[in-house]
């Protein structure tokens, strides 16, 4: 009996579990100590949670792009963070032009709509071009090849946009109607945060409905299962993959606009960190699963906002907010140790993987 257990459990497993237990201990101990110290009241925790939800909403829109592309092609599109950057980075010039001629202030709703449409279009077109030029020729190549290509495409797009628009920061003009707060019960919430959370939720529902309820979604699921059989059933595989990239790009473009509502500055490198976080969120929720990506993003956003104060403040660590990225990725490691397929991810067989 003991020998069987010894054969099953390797040293690597033991090390991984020790790391998991250590992380779990820090989380529980830090939380208890912080609550005992009572440095923050309930209002602060609510504010932090709402901030986390808004941040999670942006991550969710990027993560949806990662997850639907992975769902169909079983490929991580690492250039997706640049698709996210391209939309708002291009649309900033329209916003500035509208602001200069006064249209931004006189017609803020139409201006925001125009900027959003431009950002979504740019991101979608770029995602489709990327698929057509970089990924389609590698459709039957080993899985590592498109992955490396995606990393290359990511750098290519980053430095292309730096070449086009420069390496400086560009600021979006302020929108007067999104200033201030709305009160829910007795809790004031920033209007931008409400807009971001609601938009992310709507986009998730739209994408989920497309995948589950429409003919195109059925074709996407068929292509995801088996491209050759789907092709024999009369599905235009190239077209479906192209539409998947367009949808992912649109989601990233919208995510970019929501991101600039929270942080109204754009630059060529702005996609890197949110892209990485969104990828983490997609893995956390179970990559390939649309509600999973949303859930993972929300959890990551909340952990990033609440985690530093909750886990580290009570242990006397100074300026814990600087460690927010470390917390987000450590929690990812912890969840992947417990559940490698992600929160809502299916356990796939070796052959399918």
């Amino acid at each position: 009996m003991l020998r069987k257990w010894r054969q099953r459990i390797t040293i690597a497993d033991i090390v991984v579990w020790i790391i998991g237990i250590a992380i779990g201990f820090i989380v529980v101990y830090g939380s208890i100590k912080t609550i005992q110290v009572g440095k923050y009241d309930s209002r602060v925790w609510i504010d932090l949670t709402i901030t986390g939800l808004a941040l999670g909403g942006v991550y969710a829109l990027i993560a949806l792009g990662y997850t639907i592309v992975y769902g169909v092609l079983k490929m991580i599109n690492f250039a997706h963070s640049e698709i996210f950057m391209s939309g708002p980075f291009t649309a900033v010039f329209l916003a500035i032009a509208l602001f200069k001629n006064g249209y931004w202030s006189s017609h803020p709703y139409i201006s925001l709509l125009l900027v959003t449409l431009l950002a979504v279009s740019i991101s979608s077109v770029l995602a489709v071009l990327l698929e057509r030029i970089a990924y389609r020729p590698l459709r039957n190549a080993p899985r590592l090849v498109p992955l490396i290509t995606a990393i290359g495409a990511s750098f290519f797009l980053q430095y292309t946009f730096r070449g086009f628009f420069g390496s400086g920061l560009q600021a979006y003009p302020e929108l007067e109607f999104l200033k201030g707060t709305w009160t829910f019960g007795s809790i004031p919430v920033y209007k931008t945060q409400v807009v971001v959370i609601v938009s992310a939720l709507i986009m998730m529902l739209v994408l989920y409905s497309i995948v589950q309820l429409t003919k195109m979604g059925k074709a996407m699921r068929a292509v995801s299962e088996d491209k050759e059989v789907a092709s024999l059933m009369g599905i235009n595989v190239d077209r479906i993959i192209m539409l998947t990239f367009a949808l992912g790009g649109a989601s990233a473009g919208l995510g970019g606009i929501l991101y600039i509502l929270l942080f109204p500055v754009v630059h060529f490198f702005m996609g890197f960190i949110p892209g990485l976080k969104a990828f983490t969120a997609a893995v956390l929720g179970g990559i390939g699963n649309v509600p999973g990506a949303f859930l993972g993003a929300m959890i990551l956003g909340i952990l990033e906002a609440v985690g530093p104060s909750l886990f580290l403040d009570g242990m006397g660590i100074a300026a814990p907010y600087q460690l927010k990225d470390a917390i987000a990725f450590t929690i990812l490691v912890f969840i992947l140790i417990i559940r490698p397929s992600g929160i809502l991810g299916e356990r796939i067989t070796q052959t399918k993987a």
């Binding site: 010039f93 032009a97 292309t160 086009f164 628009f165």
Partner: protein
């Protein structure tokens, strides 16, 4: 002298060529490369970079052409080059009417002068 490639194929190849030239210009490569001479006062790296896509796409079109007679190959290359040249020329033409530099930092008069020879 009739190419077996369709007009759309020639047109799209020429367009892609032109777009690549505009891309290289707007990214800033042509202007930066132009500061280095290959033959002093005659050929610079910038002009080489400008002509490279034309040669490359001319070669690709000629290779795609099933009818390999000299006249047809030259004709397809000529049409592709013409379309590409026209597309690339749109940038300096547009630059005369609109200040592209507000958006594209490399859309400078120097770039336009290189494109116009």
């Amino acid at each position: 002298m009739k190419s077996k490639l369709t007009f759309i194929q020639l047109l799209s190849t020429g367009l892609i060529n032109g777009i690549i030239v505009i891309f290289l210009g707007l990214v800033g490569m042509i202007e930066t490369f132009n500061q280095r001479n290959i033959i002093s006062g005659l050929v610079s790296m910038g002009s080489l970079l400008l002509f490279l896509p034309f040669f490359m796409f001319g070669y690709i079109t000629a290779k795609k052409e099933p009818d390999k007679t000299l006249r047809t190959v030259l004709f397809t290359g000529f049409v592709t080059g013409l379309v590409a040249g026209f597309t690339a020329a749109l940038l300096p033409i547009l630059g005369q009417f609109v200040d592209l530099r507000d958006m594209f930092m490399n859309a400078s008069p120097t770039l336009f002068s290189i494109l116009k020879f």
